[in-house]
Structure formats: structure tokens, C-alpha cells
């Protein structure tokens, strides 16, 4: 299954029922969908609006979805009370660099697994897939201790390198690479291209949808991750945005608008990404479910 082939088919065979039943069913269906729609959106609307509200406004008009008057003190507070730029930078470095490395390493590994024949290939593939089953928390303590001995706690290396590959990405790339006709690399090989060149010049340019899917899903997961940065970093200089917001939310900041402003800001990159690249988000999820 290629990544993009999932959402294109319409369903020709929707069951049909009697007229009246159909009408009632449709009404019920749109009521259900409508309620869900409102329920899905309201928390986000409230979050953004709350980030512009004063504490007094929140206490006096809790039933209101919108501010009575707009104030920027939440955003100013984020700036003054949190090491905000540093948190933002850390989040970008952590999620960005890790994603870039993951895409590179995963696709390389998948290239070998999908396109090369060698002794031990199946064992490797099974091993990779097996790591998918391991809950991340089970490895957390030893990894923490390993990083402690390496002196990597509170560093970018420590945050990034252990996360720089994902079995899921390898799996997804492998599926995609297997769908690329083998004649292409045969042709390149006859032209004298080596494996690296075939991987980089032939396979990767064809794998853009897979790259986008893996990159987007990885970036989102890393950007959102809480437990990992919470465990690996302890100094305020190395915290990421979610970890910083959570820690400060408990300790220093008591103003709701400040925390809502922080949450809104941390949501912006993901929301923009989703707006422009929904199909990759959705394809990534849908493909994994099909097989």
C-alpha cells in the first residue's frame, strides 16, 4: 500500500434503507456529528481566548467563551516568567534535529531491508519490529543511567541521539520502498551507480510522500513529548516547551492566562503544519492501520 492511496476512494456501496429510516438516520447522524464538532473545537477556542483574558475576567465570567476585554498580559507574562525563548529554541532543536536524523537513518536502514539481499535480513527486520512493542518506559531507567555515565544528561546529545531512529519510521519506509519497481535500481546499477548513489539519487527522490509522513509524525511526537525531556533534562536551560510549561505551571506561574498563552504558542507550529499538510498526518495514520 502506498501512503497516498488510502483516502482517495469513495465508498460506492453504502447500505440503503427505507426513506423514513434514512431521514431519521441522517438527522441522528448530523446531530451526533454536530455535537462532536462543537465538543472538538470549544476547548481550543477557549484556550486561545483565555490567553487574552485577565484573571479577574476569568473569575467573573467563567461561563463566557470570549474575553470581555482583550489583554496581552498573558503573553507578556510568558515572556517574563518563563525562559521562553530558550524553551522554544530547545523544542525546535530537539524536534527538528531528531526528525532530520530519524528520516535519514530510518530510510537508510529501510533501504537495506527493502532493496538489498543479505544474510540476516529477516532477523534484523524482526528485531526492528520487536522494538515497536517495547513500552518506552521500560527502557527509561537504564537509558537515564547510560546517559548519566556518558555525561549526556541536560545536553542536546542526550535528548536527541537516543531518539534519532524509530522502528515505526523504518517500517513505513520499508513498505514504501518495496513498492518502487526494482528495474529502477537495476538500471542505475548498470549505469555504474553504487548503493549510496542509488539510495540518494534514485530511491529518496521517489520517496517524498514517505519522507513527509515520517518527518511530520516524528516532529509532532517529539514536539509534544513530555516524559522524555522531563527525565533527561533537569536544568531550566534545557527543558522543552511542554516540559517547561508543565513544570512552571506547577511551581511558579499561578496566572491562568500565562499558561494558556504558553499552551497556545506551543500549539501554533503544530497547527500550522496540520493546516498545510493534513494529508500526510492522516495518510500516516491511515496507512499504518491498513496493514
Amino acid at each position: 500500500m502506498s501512503t497516498s492511496a488510502t483516502a482517495t476512494r469513495t465508498s460506492p456501496g453504502r447500505p440503503r434503507a427505507g426513506r423514513a429510516g434514512l431521514r431519521a438516520g441522517a438527522a441522528l447522524k448530523w446531530m451526533y456529528v454536530g455535537v462532536g464538532f462543537v465538543l472538538a473545537l470549544i476547548p481550543f477556542i477557549w484556550m486561545v481566548s483565555g490567553s487574552f483574558r485577565s484573571e479577574a475576567d476569568l473569575y467573573q465570567n467563567p461561563a463566557s467563551l470570549f474575553p470581555t476585554s482583550i489583554t496581552l498580559h498573558g503573553y507578556i507574562g510568558v515572556w517574563q516568567q518563563l525562559p521562553f525563548l530558550r524553551l522554544l529554541l530547545n523544542s525546535f532543536v530537539f524536534a527538528g534535529v531528531t526528525t532530520a536524523l530519524t528520516v535519514l537513518f530510518d530510510s537508510m536502514c529501510a533501504y537495506a531491508l527493502a532493496r538489498l539481499r543479505f544474510v540476516g535480513r529477516n532477523v534484523c527486520f524482526v528485531l526492528v519490529i520487536a522494538t515497536l512493542m517495547v513500552p518506552f518506559q521500560v527502557t527509561l531507567i537504564p537509558v537515564f543511567i547510560q546517559l548519566f555515565h556518558l555525561g549526556w544528561l541536560n545536553t542536546y546529545e542526550g535528548l536527541i541521539i537516543p531518539r534519532a531512529t524509530s522502528a515505526f519510521g523504518i517500517f513505513l519506509f520499508r513498505q514504501f520502498f518495496m513498492s518502487i519497481p526494482a528495474d529502477l535500481d537495476e538500471a542505475a546499477r548498470i549505469d555504474g551507480a553504487g548503493h549510496w548513489r542509488i539510495y540518494w539519487r534514485v530511491i529518496m527522490p521517489l520517496a517524498k510522500p514517505a519522507i513527509a509522513t515520517v518527518a511530520i509524525l516524528n516532529f509532532t511526537n517529539l514536539w509534544n513529548d513530555l516524559l522524555w525531556p522531563l527525565v533527561i533534562t533537569s536544568s531550566n536551560d534545557m527543558l522543552t516547551l511542554p516540559a517547561g510549561l508543565t513544570l512552571f505551571g506547577g511551581q511558579h506561574v499561578t496566572d491562568h492566562a500565562v499558561l494558556l498563552a504558553g499552551a497556545t504558542i506551543s500549539l501554533v507550529p503544530i497547527a500550522i503544519g496540520f493546516f498545510f499538510a493534513q494529508k500526510y498526518f492522516i495518510a500516516g495514520v491511515a496507512t499504518t492501520g491498513l496493514k
Binding site: F44, P62, Q146, D225, L290
Partner: protein, 319 residues
């Protein structure tokens, strides 16, 4: 691209039989070495990382679980199965196990049912359906930390919208997260609210994959709406059902972020899940060995439940 400088022998090797009258076959020992070397180079970064930071640590966790291990302590006495025995006598472990299982069972059932219902309602490719699907899916990609924070405030009896509306309706505001009875159901609600879109997307893809001819055939046989659903749709989406159930179960068993942000495990440990317990014992109380033992129990639990689910679905397939 005809330069042959970068490559020594390998182009010939794979297509060894290809070029008619090409170079003589390479001796087999050498051929084999050349064949697998590039593969291992390509896999080296990923395998190294997975080996060092996933596979080895699992065994390491097992090892720690047999010691009264704590980071930085001078002596790490071997206690054999001591940690596991302690664990089975520890009420806070049983509590966390119960909380985790309750959370998992209720949220997975709700997610599968609501996810499928939503997918059935929104499976068409019309614009309205597609936009609504995007809206439903959106919470899935927002961090649990953010979602936890926003819902915590929304549910706050003093400032939250939910409390405000309750008061405006003339009812007494409810302290959702401070109540021992309501805290866990509230967490389940938030978790379901977030992931319903994920389940929906999986099911939409599955529904669209069921061949239309099957419905035609069923209709010709006079099948009604519900028998079509029961005999054609459900069997058609069974693989996705299995996958979704497993993914959601594994995710739910590992719930941490929501708990950490919204309740911290309280009130009265009524939302203290296994991972929250691992976090507290391992990284707050520094009882590393003990936390490692709990981690292994969690691992075993996840494996067991995954295998069980595979079994159940396989068994149904035979029917």
C-alpha cells in the same frame, strides 16, 4: 552518472548473471562479503541506536529489578526476586494496576465504538465530511500536556467554562478532578475526547477499503442495513479493528502525561497509573530497582494483552 569511481564491484555483484558475457563470476566467499557489507553500513546508525537505547536497556531493566538499586548509592545489594515480592505485597502497586486497567478497558471500548460510529457517519469524501474529519482528528496531534492543561482549567469549578455553564444553569459546580469518584472517569473522558479522531481515521480508511461489490451482492440477497453492517462491514474491517484495539490498548496502558498534568495521581491515588508510579518511584524517590521491577511487570502485561488480542481476533477469523 556513468562514473564508476565510487563503486568497486558491487554493481556487478547483484546483477551477477545479468550482463551477457560479463566479467567472470566472483568467488563465492568474496561475493558474499561484498553483498552484505553495504547493507550493514546502511543499517548501522539505526541498529546501533535501537541496540544501545532500546534492546540493551530492556535487559538492563531486568537486571536492575533484581537489585536494591538506586542511582548514586555506594552499595547496590542483590535482592533476587525481592522487588517482585515486595511489589505483589504493595497496595500502591495493586491500586495502580487497577487504575490502569480500568482506564484502559473503559477508554478502549469507548474509543472503538465512538471511533467506528464517527467513521460511519463521516466516511464519504464530500467536503463537509472531510473538513469535519480534520476537526475531529486535530486533538490527536496536540500534546497531551497541552490538552491536560486546557481541560484542567476548563473543568476548574471557579474559572472554567464547564463550571461557569453549570452555575449559569443554576446547578452546583462539580469539582471533577478533586473528587475521588469522578477524577478517573474525567481523565478517561479527556483521553477519549483526544483520541476518537485517531480511531476514526483508521476506520474510515478501512471502510473505504471494503469492496463495493460485496454490498451489492448482499443487497441482491435482500440483506437489510444491519445485516449488511454485521456480515459485510464488520468482517471487512476486522484487521483494522485488531490493529486499533492493540494500538489503543498499548497507548492506554502507558498513560502518563494526562495524569501528570491533570491530577498528579490524586486524589487519594485514585488516578495513580502504573507509569505514574514508575515515574514516582524511579525518578522522584530514586528506588530504581523497584521501579525497574514495575516496568517489567508493565512490559509483561502489554505483551500478554497484545498476544491475547491477537489470539481472540485470529480465533474469530477461523469462524
Amino acid at each position: 552518472m556513468t562514473t564508476s569511481t565510487t563503486d568497486r564491484v558491487s554493481p556487478r555483484v547483484r546483477g551477477g548473471a545479468r550482463p551477457p558475457g560479463g566479467p567472470t563470476p566472483v568467488p563465492s566467499a568474496r561475493r558474499r562479503r561484498i553483498r552484505w557489507q553495504p547493507a550493514w553500513l546502511f543499517m548501522a546508525p539505526s541498529l546501533l541506536i535501537l541496540g544501545v537505547f532500546v534492546l540493551y536497556p530492556i535487559l538492563r531493566t531486568l537486571y536492575y529489578s533484581f537489585f536494591d538499586w538506586s542511582v548514586g548509592a555506594a552499595v547496590q545489594p542483590f535482592v533476587g526476586f525481592g522487588n517482585y515480592i515486595k511489589l505483589f505485597q504493595d497496595p500502591s502497586f495493586w491500586n495502580a494496576l487497577g487504575v490502569t486497567l480500568e482506564f484502559t478497558v473503559v477508554s478502549v471500548v469507548l474509543l472503538i465504538v465512538l471511533g467506528l460510529l464517527t467513521a460511519l457517519a463521516l466516511q464519504s469524501e464530500g467536503l463537509a465530511s472531510r473538513i469535519t474529519r480534520s476537526v475531529f482528528f486535530f486533538p490527536t496531534i496536540v500534546s497531551l500536556a497541552t490538552i491536560g492543561l486546557v481541560w484542567k482549567f476548563l473543568l476548574d469549578p471557579d474559572i472554567g467554562l464547564v463550571g461557569g455553564v453549570t452555575k449559569a444553569l443554576g446547578l452546583a459546580p462539580v469539582a471533577w478532578l478533586q473528587s475521588a469518584q469522578l477524577a478517573l472517569p474525567t481523565l478517561i473522558f479527556v483521553s477519549v475526547w483526544r483520541s476518537v479522531g485517531f480511531a476514526m481515521i483508521l476506520f474510515v480508511a478501512a471502510l473505504q477499503g471494503v469492496p463495493g461489490e460485496r454490498y451489492e451482492a448482499g443487497r441482491l440477497d435482500g440483506a437489510g442495513r444491519f445485516s449488511l453492517f454485521w456480515y459485510i462491514t464488520l468482517p471487512g474491517i476486522r484487521p483494522t479493528m485488531l490493529f486499533a484495539t492493540m494500538m489503543l490498548t498499548i497507548q492506554s496502558l502507558q498513560v502518563f502525561d494526562l495524569v501528570y498534568v491533570m491530577t498528579g495521581g490524586g486524589p487519594l491515588y485514585r488516578t495513580d497509573t502504573l507509569v505514574n508510579l514508575i515515574y514516582r518511584d524511579g525518578f522522584v524517590n530514586f528506588e530504581t530497582g523497584y521501579a525497574a521491577a514495575i516496568s517489567w511487570v508493565l512490559f509483561a502485561l502489554i505483551m500478554l494483552i497484545s498476544l491475547l488480542q491477537l489470539r481472540i481476533f485470529r480465533y474469530n477469523d477461523v469462524d
